[in-house]
Amino acid sequence: MEEDLKRLFSSIMEDNKQRILRICRIYAYDNEDQKDLYQEVAMNIWKSLPSYRKESSIDTWVYRVSLNVSMQYAFKTQKSKQNRVHIEGINIHDENADLHNDLETMEKKKRMYECISKLTYAEKSLILLFLEDLPYKSISDVKGISENHVAVKLARIKKKLTNCINH
């Protein structure tokens, strides 16, 4: 049983490692906080795995855990460095982005992150699920609000984001 859980956890982490990182980048601003948050997400995936009942797809489940942990992390205004947990087995490193991007693309990416950072916590969580290319039904499953609600809110947030990026 434990071996099955370990195997499932390993496969979840391998399949979702970049996805989790993209979420952490939105809710934690510097590299140290990102790594700290990533570890917390990994820990909570591990803790929550025994209660995974397959009512939702594993991707939806991972998004829920990642978002819930990330939002809690962002809500705390004081993060005690003494309470940071050091977990081994996760290595986050920067690829050399300059080799792959022209200046214009780099500027657009920087602008995109700046504009996302100006959104509220709830808006961030909705837009990043949209940017992850999740259908509205899945976004609704993750958030716990109706599909209609998702559509209405996303229309406004997308407009806000694109206006910000284009100006």
Binding site: F9, M43, G89, N91, V142
Partner: protein, 196 residues
């Protein structure tokens, strides 16, 4: 910028950092960390039980052996408050709402908000159910113990300052940590709830 290009930019930007997972090491590390948390909780519970086991008989004994009435009252107040504190903390732990990070974001926010409000209630009221009864009990015992009035007064002032400081620390934790946390959660929930 259209939506498809925005999504492409997002996924592309996310790949500028790479994550390498060593699954075996990660699982081992997580199991060690969880085990350390559990040991910490068991240690805390043992300390509380030990304090209770020592203080309750001690103040029970003082209640019967101290001759001055004011001393008896003081010892009895401390004895009762030890029992009340242990019961209150145990009860708080039992009714504590459990967070499930794999539940829907809105549900999890509502749960976390309940938890934070429970903590605020406990810390905000610490003067009444913890500090004041112990303070009154200690002062009563102090004034029953010796004829040295200057010592009693100085000792009482020190105790008052100490308890005042503990009260201030609790209030500060509520103001600086818990209230902003509560406010952020309320705002996020309101946004999810409004239909706009």
């Amino acid at each position: 910028m259209d939506e498809e290009n925005l999504k492409k930019l997002w996924l592309d930007a996310g790949n500028e950092q790479n994550v390498k997972i060593d699954a075996d090491k990660l699982v081992k590390s997580l199991m060690n960390t969880m085990s350390k948390f559990e040991k910490k909780i068991r240690r805390r519970d043992r300390i509380e039980i030990t304090v209770g086991v020592l203080m309750i008989p001690l103040f029970g004994w003082l209640t019967f052996t101290v001759t001055e009435l004011i001393g008896k009252i003081g010892a009895a107040i401390i004895l009762i408050n030890c029992i009340v504190t242990i019961l209150k903390l145990n009860r708080a732990r039992k009714v504590i709402v459990k967070e499930h990070f794999d539940s829907e974001v809105k549900n999890q926010l509502e749960t976390s908000l309940k938890l934070v409000r429970q903590q605020i209630k406990l810390l905000d009221s610490v003067l009444w159910w913890y500090l004041l009864p112990f303070f009154i009990g200690v002062i009563c015992l102090t004034f029953s113990s010796s004829d040295n009035l200057p010592f009693k007064v100085i000792y009482s002032i020190i105790i008052m300052a100490l308890y005042g400081f503990i009260w201030y620390l609790n209030k500060r934790a509520v103001k600086r940590q818990l209230k902003p946390l509560e406010s952020n959660m309320v705002k996020a929930l309101q946004e999810l709830d409004t239909a706009d």
